[in-house]
């Protein structure tokens, strides 16, 4: 049988979807997803997705193209409403919530196809991320009450601080759309961090980056986790990044998690190899 006509991989029970790094085991996982699924018309894009993520875990979600990885992110952030299943964020059920509520509850994300506010400055992009962190009301803004000045000043300081993670504070006044590709991806992360998340979802953060940029990004992702003590879940095709920084990796195939475990477990898991490379022929 040729590579192109391989049989669909047999769907076997998930070995360990609730794998969590040891240091987080005692605490409530930040995210607990069970039996999550969505159908588009007749097509089942995600089916019975299960995964738990520890409070300070860097988790990876990998899988072949079209496996439904981005759809999982869209379900977690309620861009799509799930057809079935539950998403528990920090022990709270997010059923019936919309994107905005889920964000306020603590999920922030970046997008595979970058979605920056292109015509606005880098600073404004981050300040929009900090929107709900500022507390003054409309009249305070119109009449320029002290609460406006105070809140804006704090927010601008915070924005510069966040930008400095990627050493981007000097670009604050540049137009977001004029930034090089890699910087746009980094700015999206900064903007997401502005919303003060407890779980950060990164959709292919290293896409389009060169190896040295990727290495730097890996360090920065770890730095973000260490500084903010948050969980990060990322979708990535760059295996050096995934294997390098992820503590738990979930493998998605045909909308289902076929494995979750440490990088070592995943690399040696026959089902994962099968999903990526196809079934080994007997003759080989």
């Amino acid at each position: 049988m040729s590579r192109f006509q391989r049989e669909p991989v047999k769907l076997v029970p998930v070995p360990s979807p609730n794998f969590i790094p040891e240091r987080d085991v005692d605490k409530t996982p930040i995210l607990e997803v069970s039996h999550l699924g969505i159908d588009f018309g007749g097509l089942t894009a995600v089916d019975d997705f299960n995964m738990a993520i520890g409070r300070t875990e860097i988790a990876g979600l990998i899988g072949p193209n079209g496996a439904g990885k981005t759809t999982v992110f869209n379900l977690l952030t309620k861009v799509y409403q799930p057809t079935r299943g539950t998403i528990m964020l920090d022990g709270r059920d997010t059923a019936g919530m919309n994107t905005i509520q889920v964000n306020k509850l603590g999920i922030a994300r970046t997008f595979q196809n970058i979605r920056l506010f292109k015509a606005l400055s880098v600073m404004d992009n981050v300040l929009i991320g900090l929107h709900n962190e500022m507390d003054y009301h409309l009249p305070s803004a119109v009449f320029r009450f002290p609460s406006y000045w105070r809140s804006e000043k704090i927010a601008k300081g915070r924005a510069l601080e966040l930008l400095s993670i990627f050493d981007m504070q000097d670009l604050a006044d540049a137009k977001a759309g004029s930034l090089p590709y890699g910087a746009q991806r980094r700015l999206e992360i900064v903007r997401a961090l502005g919303t003060n998340p407890s779980l950060l979802l990164l959709d292919e953060p290293a896409a389009g980056m060169n190896p040295s940029e990727t290495t730097e990004l890996m360090e920065n992702i770890q730095k973000i986790r260490d500084t903010f003590k948050i969980a990060i879940m990322l979708i990535e095709h760059d295996m050096s990044l995934v294997m390098g920084i992820c503590e738990g990796i979930g493998v998605l195939n045909y909308g289902k998690v076929i494995a979750k475990g440490t990088p070592e477990d995943i690399q040696s898991n026959p089902q994962v190899i099968e999903a990526y490379l196809g079934k080994k022929k007997e003759a080989n």
Partner: protein, 350 residues
């Protein structure tokens, strides 16, 4: 360092603008009351002010929020009739006119909420066509409501006449000042940034926790409010209201001002609102060709400079002053300006 130099500290910047604007009001007002500017021209100047309010307020919905409402004249009509009826009912008192303007704005804002909530669920073209339909319905209602009510309210096609002509230069331009100030302060706040983020990318805005429905409605309602105020001023300037003055054509005329000036540029809206109102008055013969030229301009601008003449550029008096101060201080050497820029940075940051 690419960092904006703000040499003049923030509260002082507002003060400079307010003082200069007050001086402008005072000088113009003296000229008008003293008779140097004739009554006719003072009326023209008032209608320039009204156009500016209309353009700046539509710019809020079109340039900043990124929607295309085609019923702006409808909001203006609602405000105009509301104000006119109050002015007629309680003529004479000094506070009647400001109250009538406020009421006109508030009723228009109410209509803004009524039409905004369903309309803003729709995207682009559908929103445009829905607001267009709304504008048409307003016109039909204003024309025919008297038959339904059984008493004279709007006086249909005959027009609402003998409205006290209380609109003066001073009141109009105070309203212009307030409109620009309020919209400016909203836009330069977290609320304004939320509105801009919707224009830029709605899905990303939601992922940043921005309540897009609320902010869309806010932008729409503020826009409608000031259109209503402009309507009230219009009623007091002309003295007679006819539903046909608030048709689709009027909405498009306002849109031309916004588009020509540059969507998202308040300065552009002020400029083109002023110029496009003043020009036909100055060139009477031109009136015949006015709409032909308007529509040609609209098409040509869209093809060759879709962002409008000013783009999103906004004029800042203080920014100009900053540059001037820099120039004066560093004017001796060639590269002096730049050196000062870096030097100043430390304390310049508010």
């Amino acid at each position: 360092m690419i960092k904006k130099s703000t040499i003049i500290p923030m509260p002082l910047r507002y003060l400079i603008n307010i003082v200069l604007f007050a001086a402008f009001l005072f000088v113009m007002n003296t000229l008008i009351t003293g008779g140097t500017i004739s009554k006719y021209y003072s009326g023209v100047i008032s209608s320039i002010g009204i156009s500016i309010i209309l353009a700046v307020s539509l710019n809020m919905a079109t340039g900043y929020l990124g929607q295309l409402p085609l019923g702006h004249a409808g909001f203006m009509a609602v405000g105009a009739y509301t104000s006119a009826l109050i002015m007629k009912a309680a003529a004479g008192s000094l506070i009647t006119f400001p109250l009538a303007l406020l009421a006109g704005g508030l009723v228009a804002a109410l209509f803004g909420i009524l039409i905004g909530i369903p309309a803003l669920k729709l995207k682009g073209d559908y929103l445009a066509i829905l607001t267009l339909g709304f504008g048409q319905i307003i016109m039909v209602v204003l024309l025919n409501i008297d038959d339904v009510l059984g008493f004279k309210l709007t006086r249909g096609a005959a027009g609402l006449q003998k409205i006290p002509k209380t609109t003066t230069f001073l009141i109009t331009f105070i309203c212009v000042g307030i409109t620009c100030f309020v919209i400016h302060t909203i836009m330069k706040s977290r609320h304004g940034r939320a509105i801009l983020s919707i224009r830029e990318n709605e899905i990303a805005a939601e992922s940043c926790g921005i309540n897009t429905t609320y902010y869309k409605t806010l932008g729409f309602v503020v826009s409608a409010f000031f259109a209503g105020v402009a309507g009230g001023l219009y009623a007091g300037n002309i003295g007679i209201l006819n539903p046909s003055a608030f048709g689709f054509m009027k909405s498009i005329e306002i849109l031309v001002m916004v588009v020509l000036g540059g969507m998202g540029s308040m300065f552009g809206s002020v400029l083109s609102g002023g110029v496009l109102t003043a020009l036909p008055e100055l060139l009477r013969d031109f009136d015949k060709y006015r709409m032909v030229v308007y529509s040609l301009v609209l098409v040509v601008v869209m093809i060759f400079k879709p962002t409008g003449l000013m783009g999103t550029y906004d004029f800042s008096l203080n920014g100009l002053l900053d540059k001037l101060i820099l120039r004066l201080k560093g004017g001796k050497g060639d590269g002096g300006g730049k050196a000062v820029l870096v030097e100043k940075e430390g304390k310049a940051n508010e």
